[in-house]
Subunit: 264 residues, 4 copies
């Protein structure tokens, strides 16, 4: 066995009979009852084990994001893929692949805004007002707030409760939570129809409070949503459908191009 530094890594140390993640032997991690998926996601991306309360808070966010049904492009794609004669790996990959800047990126974007706000020396209300003004000047919404059909997102309340409790228990500082609530307050000022914090916003608070980099925020959401992709791919594969299109077979797309013409 030779070693090469072209693929060097600090994540896993593999040699015959040995597997360690950031130094910890895999057999001890498997045997430790308090080590779960959230712990492993933390260890592998951060290099250290979280405390048990940190892992528990992270897990709340991961549980919250697993699915939002086949109206989401990712989930519809997982289901369509299964009807095209591919493996479940392909269907899950096809779903994950579209969790891009628009479908999966709101939380990541909000985490970047949190970072900007927290580094600003001005009082919080002033900083938040400036940041909202900047976004509006660029014709952008504040990411993580508002939902196209949930007037109140049912996931907001229990997630905010979990992070509030964690702050009381000294698990997190609570500065991101405070910033998020101030954003929510300001964008709702004087409005009749409220703009509630949504799942992307509420999970971004937790990921940021726990010290994850914004890109990892998107990665964690993907881990979570992979469960929904798996479940929907599996359900669809049992339907017997073949080459399932987006709408029922009897519905054709409107054609809005040029009238029939001959090739010259």
């Amino acid at each position: 066995m030779e070693r090469s530094d072209w693929w060097k890594t600090s994540i896993s140390d593999i040699s015959p009979g040995v597997i360690r993640y950031h130094g910890y032997p895999v057999e001890q991690l498997i045997a430790a009852p308090e080590v779960g998926m959230a712990t492993m996601a933390w260890l592998l991306t951060r290099g250290e084990l979280p405390s048990v309360p940190q892992a528990r808070l992270l897990e709340r966010a991961l549980v919250a994001g697993v699915d939002h049904g086949p109206q989401a492009p990712s989930i519809a794609i997982a289901r369509m893929a299964m009807t095209c004669g591919v493996g479940i790996n392909n269907a899950m990959a096809s779903a994950t692949n579209v969790l891009g800047d628009v479908h999966g990126g709101a939380g990541q974007e909000l985490m970047e805004i949190f970072a900007t706000i927290l580094q600003d020396p001005r009082p919080l209300p002033e900083t938040v007002a400036a940041e909202i003004a900047r976004l509006r000047a660029e014709n952008k919404y504040v990411p993580g707030f508002g939902h196209r059909f949930h007037p109140v997102d049912p996931r907001r309340e229990p997630l905010v409760a979990a992070v509030t409790q964690a702050r009381e228990d000294g698990v997190v500082e609570g500065r991101v939570l405070e910033a998020a609530l101030e954003i929510e307050r300001q964008i709702n000022e004087g409005r009749q129809r409220p703009i509630p914090m949504n799942i992307d916003g509420a999970t971004a608070i937790i990921y940021a409070e726990l010290g994850f980099a914004p890109v990892l925020g998107r990665g964690l959401f993907i881990l979570s949503r992979s469960i929904g992709a798996l479940a929907h791919a599996w359900e669809e594969s049992n339907s017997g459908a073949r080459n399932k299109g987006p709408e029922h077979r009897t519905i054709l797309p409107d054609y809005v191009g040029p009238a029939p013409r001959d090739v010259p």
Copy 2:
């Protein structure tokens, strides 16, 4: 809001202000401390909540499969992708996409073999012998046993211990475990260099004991390995490499085709 049965599902029930998975409200699931990623994977794919010991056993298998370093094609691909200027969703999808019949399918295949063995009325040693003979006649290895460089897979021991304990606690029946150990015994009979049960074999026992369908075995492995893909993608993105090829830039592939010739 209209409803259409083209995308009908029993997984998630979404309406304004409401999200329920197989009937359970998302806000209760988020708030329940014993509900983690393993529980959600079970609920969404199976339709019912697992008991706490069932979820714990499942989580042992999920923890065990998170990573095996960049020599695995999936992980190398996640890292290469990040150096090509794509988002982390793309890198994670690219990794998942190749967890096909060869890279991700051994466990699934073994689960199918378990099902065959358990339905056979003959005594276990006889059934197992017949199944091994069948595979050898088709020039196939028994999937889930042997590893190209681990003489003993360090993940086997703690996983077998976990499922043995679960059998003692009445969480699982233990018939799959028994079959797996009988396979291991028979294929090692009279050998000097042992063929140990590997990660695919040991996790397949757990998934099968818990009643998962074989295809879901692969899906669960993908959930697990997604953590490694995320961590490696993130690590590589911090390296500054651009268009990272499989081997160092100074190493060109051998060319073994025709000698130089002119286009006629």
Copy 3:
């Protein structure tokens, strides 16, 4: 510069200042006016340059398969992907990814049937009858025949004409064509509503007559359909839609799972 045989290839010979494909210098291929995409696809996969008439016949099949609108899952997926905030590479990959055994594999399957038929020493009608009987016994349709809404596939006629002409010109032998027409004749015998040869069937004739392996038949279809994926991805990206689901936002999927219940 070192060479390694881990990535050895007979396709491209790359060294500083030099690029040759199967021996032919890239600069000559670029400069040769008769060398187009079809020629390059042939050269890279087969190792030799096609004759000009061979390349022309191949190109007829490639032209025929470029698109069948957004009701096809691949094309709908390319369009959805673009609304999720990903690059055009991701959208095109997402489309290609689902061209699996069901969505992209009929031609490949038919090419395997052609190979079986052509190796059979019996008279053609007898061999074809046996093969159709075998498929029906396995409860399968003959791949490449019939279309869910085209009573006559408009691509059949010009493709069959092209291969017929090529046989008359001595470009191909015509044995596959003969077999395909015999299949079409037999499966339509005594039927009121005809089962016409479809695009998969008609292009499979050309690919097989030209000597491509069945797997390459699927690969060539993918090259062709990539043009449609690109065009639809581009069109959708100009629509301004965000997270476009399969059906209009006002249409929710039917929920068919358990009634609301509490987490125990």
Copy 4:
């Protein structure tokens, strides 16, 4: 059959027995000998048929980009994928998926720079100097120039010759060509080791001269490179390798993380 405008398109008009692309019947396009892949790529993305000389010039660029061997991440990934037990669609998709901003985006970026330069009212040398200065101030290279190991890119000469000829024949205006040559002249001024125009640069000239939008530049490159992905996937699938990693099995990645430690 109903029509819905959720998936409306101007590309393909599909109804029973009818397929038209931007108004042209598919059967006429298949039957027209001068209509090839380049023509179809133009028609589907632009809405009109190119002239024969326009299609020929486009095809020169498409021929030039088909492959650069397995040192390119895209091609290595296509090959690795095939050893993991997936279909050729998956391997081709996995290759395409990583043709992102870094691996596939240089041409697109250069096309945007061309657009900026051509809209500038100042004399060309002045505009080009300003644009180069801007890129250098941002610590960026001019995309499309220089190659990590070709001192001269063998594809530059025949591509520049083709577009020069097209300008002489009145097929293109030649303003982009002029700008590109001025960039090449200025960045090489006073240098000992020249920075040549590379494939991304030379094909970007052609795509821009022909009026393609920058994003389509990347899309066209993907169509071209898909041929290489197909050929390499096919070649590797015939190798019998399983789970082929980036480097030979005997070479392990360097581990650079924490020393062995126990789970607390």
